[in-house]
Symmetry: C2
Subunit: 340 residues, 2 copies
Amino acid sequence: MNGASKSTTIRDVAQYVGISVTAVSQILNGKGDRFSDETIRKVQEAQRVLNYHPNFYARGLVGQRSNSIGIVIPNIMNPFFASLVLSVENAAIPKGIFPQVFSVNGFHENIDYFIEQFISGTQKGLILAAPGASQEIVDKLAISNSLPMVLTDQADLSGNYDMVLIDELKAGELIASHLLDLGHTRIAIVLPFGLTLNLKHRFDGYKLAFKLHHVAVPLDLVFQSNFDPSGGVDAVERIVETDATAIIAINDDVAIGIYRGLSAHHKSIPDDYSVVGFDNINLTNYLTPRLTTVEQPIDKIGEQAVQMLVGKMTDPTAEHQSVILDVKLKIRDSTKKLEM
Amino acid sequence: MNGASKSTTIRDVAQYVGISVTAVSQILNGKGDRFSDETIRKVQEAQRVLNYHPNFYARGLVGQRSNSIGIVIPNIMNPFFASLVLSVENAAIPKGIFPQVFSVNGFHENIDYFIEQFISGTQKGLILAAPGASQEIVDKLAISNSLPMVLTDQADLSGNYDMVLIDELKAGELIASHLLDLGHTRIAIVLPFGLTLNLKHRFDGYKLAFKLHHVAVPLDLVFQSNFDPSGGVDAVERIVETDATAIIAINDDVAIGIYRGLSAHHKSIPDDYSVVGFDNINLTNYLTPRLTTVEQPIDKIGEQAVQMLVGKMTDPTAEHQSVILDVKLKIRDSTKKLEM
DNA sequence: CTAATTGAGTAAAACGTTTTACCGCTCCTA
DNA sequence: TAGGAGCGGTAAAACGTTTTACTCAATTAG
């Protein structure tokens, strides 16, 4: 099966130099001050000549620590999660911590496997950004190895976890208020099929804004669809049958689909419909018209998550805490005053 | 430092059940047919009660294999690489192989660290999709641990590697021919700053098409820019100063920037400019107008890469081979006949 | 001249598994 | 009733490190 010849071990280099294994280990780990310069030199040379690389597993086995954290995301194709990964990397790598990405995608059946094989064991901590993950899975991850863990993009009421969240209520209110201020009252809302806790909060924010504006919440204009551009296209098919004049998308990806759907119906944004997205992914600035959307402070999210995780790793007994980050409405060209 | 108490080992389980370590190991690995149902049951229960999880390192140390392969990508934000990851996952996971993503992003300085700590050691093989990676890095990865490796999106002339490539020459020719057939001759070409080998081939394809159409290659219309949407915007600033009537982008991401740039200049696609992308990322179907682009058979790429890697892993002495996959031009709404 | 110190190095335990080779018992078959 | 076959199980080696506790000689201090 394994045709490759055994790779060189520390014993080989010890033998090559004519010295003990201990010495080699110490020297190669920078703890060999007490050895003679001559010996040190010879060991280093031997390492090069023999192309010796310490075995990852052996090393892990003895010193139980690694400096790697994991980040679990549901879908690598969603630009929001891609930026989240990037932001975590930016925060962690300068600290000497190396994140490893676990993109769970469709493979929910395999999450157990991931947990068993990779996450617990190799990772010293975990950032979980899997809004779809069931409580069961979350608990399993946490309990399975008392792994320090930070939840993000995912609220949890149990109080058992550290979390970094955004102010969903405010976000929802900002969006709806903006449209209401522009004179829209018949506002369609495109949601995914299952509402996670944070989306419920956002929805509460919408409702609050309507209440404050003394406008009835247009519950007849709430639509459910997939979480990607295709979902936006679908939703438009139903929305054009109504008297809606504005559309709130659950995220920018869906908004992109909405752009497409409206365009196929020869409807103009923002003349016929105002459209609002969520996340402020890179692309939104490149759409025509530029998309009005809510900016998540994604750099801060990554930074906070890493910081909290490190805290948890150094002191696992610390109290659980959560931070709620602020959001901003980026008003661009996809929304405009309703003309009567 | 480490506040967590020692986690339970296989020995604890064995002791709890009152049985040997061997038995526990076998049973838990599904190789315990020969043990009594009663014992099996007790072991499973003990595993649950004690919350036992095999130690990753110990396991890796003894059976030198893992069933994990690595995939190295330059930039997780680029949808093409995101889909590549997805396609590799789709091909690998059903085979029981679990890919791990190494998104190198800006951290070229750290690639050494990645190699030492994670890639060689834990991974049984590597898919390298890092077109920017220097020959030096590629060689280092390969030599450092005689790691089976497959290159993709990256040609290498040394013949030392397995590769899965696409027919860049044909791709280039298809694009240019399509535009030439539509009557365009003043065709702008947007390239990144450094030309990798595969891009050179593609450029050769462009030139071939011009030659076959007896049209001079418009070398004065070759522009260089960043590899992302911002690059497209920049390029447009320069292109609008010329007499170009069509634009070939290096990839869809850049094409999106071109859309934006042209829109800012109140130019219409395809009336004022025909635009062609590359990659056929998901989004291209959702743009308005829908983008004419070249489809990379991304599912096949992932599948091939995994398959070749597995081959290499089972027989590392096998000859190096490369496969070249076919591409297709997806003609959509962003290109049209030049009106005189 | 003895005792303590330093310098350069080593032996062996430990980490937690998997795997190989065995063991003893009971039951069947010739 | 001897000799295999199952059955249910175990002991111990091996994987490649790091780390702890030594050893031995040479030098220095008193």
